[in-house]
Amino acid sequence: MRAAREVPDVSGASPPAHGWYVYALVLPGDLVPPEGMDGKSPVTLLVCRGIGAAASVVPLAEFGSEPLRRNLQDVGWLEEKVRRHERVVAALLARGPVLPLRFGTVFLGIERVRAVLARNARTLREALRYLADKEEWGLKGFSHRASLRTAPLRGDPALLAQGAAETEALPGHRFFARRKAEELLAARSLEREVELADDAVAAVAPRVVRLVRNPAAAGFASEGGRLVLSLACLLERREVEPFLEEVERWNRDHRRDGFRLTASGPWPPYHFTPGLPVDA
């Protein structure tokens, strides 16, 4: 019988058996404690200088430096923990502004959490205030090559000319003419994708406070579609509806273009957190 098993030793006695997993930084106040990383320890707020660190106790046998390294390569473990992390941050976001921490941030003791809050209190308070009336939204652009080729490129002068050349070519030359037409079509498709992506960015930009354009997970594709545009947008809350309307309008205007936008959100503002100075 190990009767004391449920009681984490967080007294700081060495060697520590538990650490503090920090999910996000928030404003102090009431918190309906979500379930933490280990599925039992509740998330609590460790408060220092007007900043609350939403944290829960985790065993270092699982989250210590070496075990964590091993676990990060275990897909099943990673998936479960990412879900738990995500769920906690989502619950915090419903409560007010959050500064999400990168996955896997584990402190060896409460005093170390407090030290980081104390050192960066001003930056963190300003960031929370800045984000209080804003939301992060994602915007993805999907290209459907087949329809992009049949619709918007149908009237392309260069392609028409190449098509005519193919028809008129002598039988022996037709194969090469056709291959040239294929190459031209592929090149024009790519150009057209870039044009449409830029056009979409320009359409939503006036609604956006800050915008991060991610390299669109190059080559990510399935079901004949391809991800070609990936944006993280920071919006004033009152601009969210107009932003979504703009996306719908753009999709309506381009419904025959083989290119479609998808908005997602609100996300915790992962793309718009402040950088903290590396400790001296």
Binding site: L60, R69, L99, P100, L101, R102, V113, S222, G225, L276
Partner: protein, 72 residues
Amino acid sequence: MPERAPESLLERQVTLLETLDRVLNRGVVVAGDVTLSVADVDLIHVGLRLLLCSVETAREWRVPGTFPLSHP
């Protein structure tokens, strides 16, 4: 907010990608004082790639009531 639910498998996979990219690669980075160093972040990418390869994972990535893109 299920009105933003993804429609196709591609979009569901991308939703998973979006979630993982945010949770694993973004957010406030605290150097020092923590058990995981910045150099270890590359290890996360190993797991991330494996996770993305799993279509089953993309199908099942549903956390009702949390992120808006999850299935209703």
